[in-house]
């Protein structure tokens, strides 16, 4: 079947796919800019093969999700940031009338060492039940941050010499990294009385607390992989903000041994990384549709710990053996909406600011 003859970024590509044999006789190269969290997924040989079977070769380059709206996207068939807000900003450039696609998502969670999680639970900052992941009480946590609470002030910390200094969750740099920005999105929602920050008034009201969340951390890394790696190797802060997918991908690939004594704390108000594909061309849209609909690609997304949109059965089946770590149904977790890209930039800038 002749798929299409397309003008993509000035390059003409003719494609012929023999569907009956599931093999392409020629492939179309589709170029996309993606958030770095998905680089391993797109590099997976099984993913490459799955796209090839549909006649596509997907070439990706990574970029900070929140930097994509200032990127020259000419020559790309799609952009695939890790959050819906930058996707909305990118959408205005898309000539594709169909709108963005959200093939999968992953909530932000806090990776904790067991001792730290237990001390938080003993002090009402978290709830823990044996054999299950915990819940981080965001309200209590932000109050503790407001008061510059130290670990030493928490009951039960004395037995653990590493639990000293100000209590805080390590995040990535909110100006350059999606997870860092989404951390502030969740915190700003709680600090704003359970409403999404939408204007300069809300930004100003939440700025002092958000600044504190960032300032106590000192130097921050710019990608979510590095602090998680540090955490797993026993270095750094005992509480680190990660994507659920980072933990789930290790579990699904039978690498639970890597996790050591990790306990996942799901913030009771969190934000999900909505991996949102903005097509610029028909081929870009095709990539998004395959990610959303193709059973094999949905299964492969689960291999990388992502939750496919719509039907939950793939993720739940994969997570079933790991309910000690993963909150399969996100029970007790509220998903906060993310401020618009412009507001988020302003929140991040003020949080990072010296003054």
């Amino acid at each position: 079947m002749a798929l299409a003859v397309l003008l993509a970024g000035g390059i003409m590509a003719a494609v012929l796919v023999d569907r009956d044999k599931g093999q392409s006789t020629a492939t179309t190269t589709v170029r996309g800019v993606i958030g770095s969290e998905k680089a391993d997924f797109f590099a997976d040989p099984d993913v490459v093969r799955a796209f090839a079977d549909h006649g596509l070769t997907v070439r990706t380059e990574t970029s900070g999700s929140w930097a994509m709206d200032s990127l020259d996207t000419s020559g790309y068939d799609f952009a695939f940031p890790s959050s819906s807000a930058p996707a909305d900003a990118l959408r205005s450039r898309s000539k594709d009338p169909g709108g963005p696609l959200r093939p999968f998502y992953s909530p932000l969670v806090v990776a904790a060492h067991r001792d730290a999680a237990e001390v938080l639970a003993a002090n009402g900052l978290a709830t823990l039940q044996s054999g299950q992941p915990g819940i981080l009480r965001m309200d209590a946590y932000l109050k503790a941050m407001q008061k510059n609470t130290t670990w030493q002030q928490l009951r039960g910390s004395a037995a653990h010499s590493e639990l000293t200094g100000t209590l805080f969750v390590t995040s990535t740099d909110p100006l350059s990294s999606n997870s860092g920005a989404l951390y502030l999105a969740a915190a700003s929602y709680v600090a704003n009385g359970g409403a999404v920050v939408a204007d300069s008034h809300g930004v100003a009201a939440t700025a002092p607390l958000l600044h504190k969340l960032i300032a106590v951390q000192g130097a921050q890394q710019s990608s979510s992989d590095a602090p998680f790696r540090d955490f797993l190797s026993g270095v750094g802060n005992p509480l680190v903000l990660v994507y659920e997918s980072q933990v789930a991908s290790l579990l699904v690939r039978h690498q639970a041994g890597e996790l050591g004594d990790l306990v996942l704390l799901y913030p009771d108000t969190t934000v999900s990384s909505d991996h949102t594909l903005v097509p610029f061309t028909g081929n870009g849209r095709r990539v998004g549709e395959l990610l959303r609909d193709d059973p094999r690609l949905r299964q492969l997304a689960v291999r990388y710990g992502f939750r496919p949109q719509g039907d939950t059965k793939e993720f739940n089946a994969a997570a079933a053996p790991y309910t000690a770590y993963l909150n399969q149904k996100l029970t007790g977790v509220r998903q906060a909406p993310v401020p618009t890209s412009a507001v988020m930039h302003e929140i991040a800038r003020r949080a990072r600011d010296e003054k």
């Binding site: 200094g165 951390q217 000192g218 270095v235």
Partner: protein, 539 residues
Amino acid sequence: MRTVPRIAAAAALAGLLLTGCTGGGSGGGSGDGQGGQRTARPQPGTLRVLAGSELSDLEPVLKAAEKATGVKVVPTYSGTLDAVQQIASGQADRSYDAVWLPSDDYLRLHPEAARRIGSETPVMTSPVALGVRPEAVRRLGWDPGKVTWAQIGQAVTEGRLTYGMTDPARSNSGYSALVGLASALSGAQSALTEQDVRHAAPALKRFFAGQKLTSGSSGWLAQAYARQGSVDALINYESVLLSLNRDSHTDLTVIRPVDGVVTADYPLTLLASAGTDQRTAYTALTRYLRSPGAQQAITRQTLRRPVVASVAPDPRLPAGRRRELPFPGSRAVADGLLDSYENQLRRPSRTVYVLDTSGSMDGSRLSRLKTALAGLTGTDAAPGERFRDREEVTLMPFADTVKGVLGHTVEEGRRQQALDAIRADADALRADGGTAIYSSLQEAYRYLGQRADEAGGDRFTSIVLMTDGENTAGESADDFNAFYAALPADQRSVPVFPILFGDSDRAELQHIADLTGGRLFDAVGSSLSGAFEEIRGYQ
């Protein structure tokens, strides 16, 4: 045997690089490859890496990586702060595909450097620790697993513990130690602020009074420690201290203070300018380096900690978690801390520059010397690149005899005048006459003895010897050996840092460095200014 090319053509840095191999000493680095050429252009399957100097101990691991992945790493060694400057200026983009420093924390504080890097992959970790002689541990009655920075600070303040540390303006281990000390001694509960630094200044000053040894590199620090025997402890990476125990049987007790450490996580970092082939090579290499087999080799061979939970750290690495002291989040704090250390907190230096101004120096050599000296007198120079406040700087130009003794003290209130005066003295140097190296060195030692009597001896004291030829006048090498042997112990501890320049005799200068516990710096065919700057770390 194939050698590993590692020498930068960049003239400004070659002086640093030639002497930059330090490492924990497992023999992977020194000796091979000094005549090599850096790969000028990107090549498929090759990663040109600007690497921290202590990473030379990874060469066996990288050889195995090449076998397994086909990716060849061509390292060029440099200090962290110099590397950050190269990245920020864009110079690194032209010559390298990746950088590999003990930590990217300092780099990230420089926006013009931070925007030039791409993926970062931590490969291994090592915390800054204190290595203490066992007799000192006994004397202090310490339980090594329970020592705090406050206890260490108190022992130093009471004069019961002396130590050596690398220069924070030159070396990441020194800078990390400074951050850790400032955090711990200020009682800061989160990332350091300028107020914390001010608040901690008196305690830090007392602490740094106990620093009796400084060095521009970890490797030389270890050598100087072994030689001097007068220092009770070393502050450096845990891996460096444990490697020293393994290679030099120093038997140091390695203490990670329970109230916190600063840890290097060695992120292999792709430059944003790297091409597609290099990105692919980077991905293959980092995947390999984080594989269990490579992680095991790393922890066993280099005594750093693995970053993969399924691989157990080498048994020589003590167990138990430590709080990670946050690294400053702003450049104002980071540079302010460094500036305070250089100009207020550390013991001041006393330095004599014994400068060959014989006839052969006439022309471009003399003007290069003037430029190199002038380079250290800029008031807006980065920390570590100018004469420090409180420093005593003496120029001692010589030919057949010492031509003059030009002493200056850089006092904070009169900094500009002092720096101007040093520059003017340098500018007035004239070249004529023979070359009396040994007589002039003796003169320098006599002068320093006299200064210690007049103005006190509690300073980092050293001699820089810059000569462009062989000894042609005055005393002989044997005379100098005898003179040196007869010096009182405190004077014998003053090292000479000779600089190889022009037609000077490497063997002659190496002997002087070895005899006095100094280190030879190479400025032949490269920048004399670079050598002068690097020596700052040892002064």
